[in-house]
């Protein structure tokens, strides 16, 4: 996870085209190693590339520079196309690496991983509790909303709508608070005294270190290429 972060930073700071290309390859390799369902990955990449599509539509027209071709009044510039291509490469490289390194983990594992990395337990617990109850709270909100809809509530831009949504949100807040109290009671009844104990705190295995080292190495390689590329006048 740490490695993924460094990898992203390095990639995001690249200016040349070559380095992100390598990064993209690294991301691809990681993805292959992670054995992910291709459809899921493609779906996520599609979402991301809808954003880059916007860049392709705007940047070539707006970035000033040498003209690549002219379409009537529109001038498509070389630097614009290059920039759009660069952004696309970078985005995909980062997304691939993140999908492979982080998104494959269940949040429970990420929490345990953070605990193993000596992140304060309060932070880990905050993360895990948020994850545990966000669905419960969402369900509660939807139950209320459905109840309102079933009684003929139609959202519109009226005071009545705003007041109703205010009530729904307020009600969800109150219910969340009450649930929080009940959970705290449940914890106290089972001997909770403000200290979290980690069950067999997941040790960082040798394979974890090796994987991190490899990803960091890849990041370093990308950085090196970038430096060489730009000093060479890129």
């Amino acid at each position: 996870m740490i490695s993924a972060f460094f990898f992203s930073v390095v990639v995001a700071l690249c200016h040349t085209l070559v380095a992100p290309l390598l990064a993209l390859t690294v991301g691809g390799v990681l993805l292959l190693v992670a054995h992910l369902p291709a459809r899921e990955v493609a779906r996520r990449l599609l979402v991301v590339n809808l954003f880059t599509l916007v860049f392709w539509l705007t940047l070539p027209l707006t970035v000033p520079g040498e003209a690549l071709m002219e379409l009537g009044p529109l001038v498509i510039t070389k630097p614009g196309v290059a920039l759009a291509a660069l952004i696309t490469l970078k985005t995909n490289a980062i997304v691939l690496a993140f999908i492979a390194l982080v998104a494959t983990s269940r949040l429970a594992d990420i929490g345990h991983g953070l605990a193993a990395l000596k992140v304060p337990s309060r932070f880990c617990m905050l993360l895990l509790f948020t994850y545990r109850y966000i669905f419960v709270l969402q369900l509660e909100y939807q139950r209320l909303r459905r109840a309102a809809l079933l009684r003929g509530f139609r959202p519109a831009t009226t005071i009545h709508t705003y007041r109703t949504y205010g009530n729904l949100l307020g009600m969800t807040l109150v219910k969340s608070w009450q649930r929080g109290v009940r959970i705290q009671q449940a914890m106290v009844l089972r001997g909770f005294q403000g200290r979290f104990y980690v069950l067999e705190g997941r040790r960082l295995a040798a394979s974890d270190w090796i994987l991190s080292a490899l990803v960091l190495f890849a990041a370093a390689a990308v950085a090196l290429m970038e430096l060489m590329g730009s000093s060479g006048g890129g």
Partner: protein, 238 residues
């Protein structure tokens, strides 16, 4: 044998009506069913027993001694297991194993010991391969059984169960009946499910107007119920 005695308890919620008026109750030798209309304070009574709410007057005694300070409450909570109405309130850890091990860890067990206890408890409830399941992805019935495991792993002497059969399908309900009957522990079960109480308890208390009324025999099937599956009749016990 652990005995809890509620001595002359009176209670009202702030700004609410009086729920209990000089109420006495002994828990520890029997399996008790607790019935009563909504809002009569059945759950509140459990909260007073566990020390989550403080009575206006009167006190809770554990083995004859008044439970007064934090240490005494901790001792009582160690000996009495309270199963909540909503299992979602009780299962807060990411995985089943962690949730069941939470109590033993707080009691001072180290990792391997807590793990062993948790696995043994899950095994005893027929949940042997559940340890790595994600708690919020369990079904309602599974959540209820896992919540029961988180209580049983602390080896309580007395159980308090708050409407344990709510939203359970008939198969899980029957499973719960046999689990509870195998436990051989004194318990108090709040329920509106008289058939369930008849199968699991020896005596029924009904809570009315702040007083408890005891009845040693309840009339089996005095309530109307639908026989939906005509080709699967059940025994009315004569």
């Amino acid at each position: 044998m652990t005995t809890i005695f509620l001595d002359d308890i009176s209670f009202r919620h702030p700004g609410g009506v009086r729920l209990f008026h000089h109420l006495d109750l002994t828990i520890g030798s029997e399996r008790v069913g607790l019935i009563g209309a909504n809002g009569t304070g059945k759950t509140t009574l459990f909260h007073i027993i566990m020390g989550l709410l403080k009575p206006e007057s009167g006190q809770v005694l554990l083995d004859g001694r008044g439970v007064v300070d934090a240490k005494a409450w901790q001792q009582l909570r160690r000996q009495v297991g309270f199963l909540f109405q909503d299992a979602d309130d009780q299962l807060f850890s990411p995985t089943v194993l962690e949730d069941v091990a939470f109590g033993p860890l707080n009691m001072g067990d180290d990792g391997p010991a807590a793990r062993a206890k948790a696995m043994a408890t899950l095994d005893g409830l027929g949940l042997a391969d559940f340890e790595n399941r994600i708690t919020h992805q369990l079904s309602g019935g599974e959540k209820k059984l896992v919540a029961l495991a988180t209580i049983l792993v602390m080896a309580p002497d007395i159980l308090l169960l708050d409407e344990p059969t709510n939203n359970l399908d008939p198969a899980t309900r029957e499973r719960l009946v046999s689990i509870l009957n195998d436990l051989n522990l004194p318990m108090v079960i709040i329920s509106h499910d008289l058939d369930f109480l008849a199968k699991t308890t020896e005596v029924i208390y009904s809570l009315e107007h702040g007083h408890l009324h005891r009845s040693d025999s309840i009339h089996l099937h005095s309530h109307p119920h639908a026989h939906v599956y005509g080709d699967h009749p059940h025994d009315h016990g004569g």
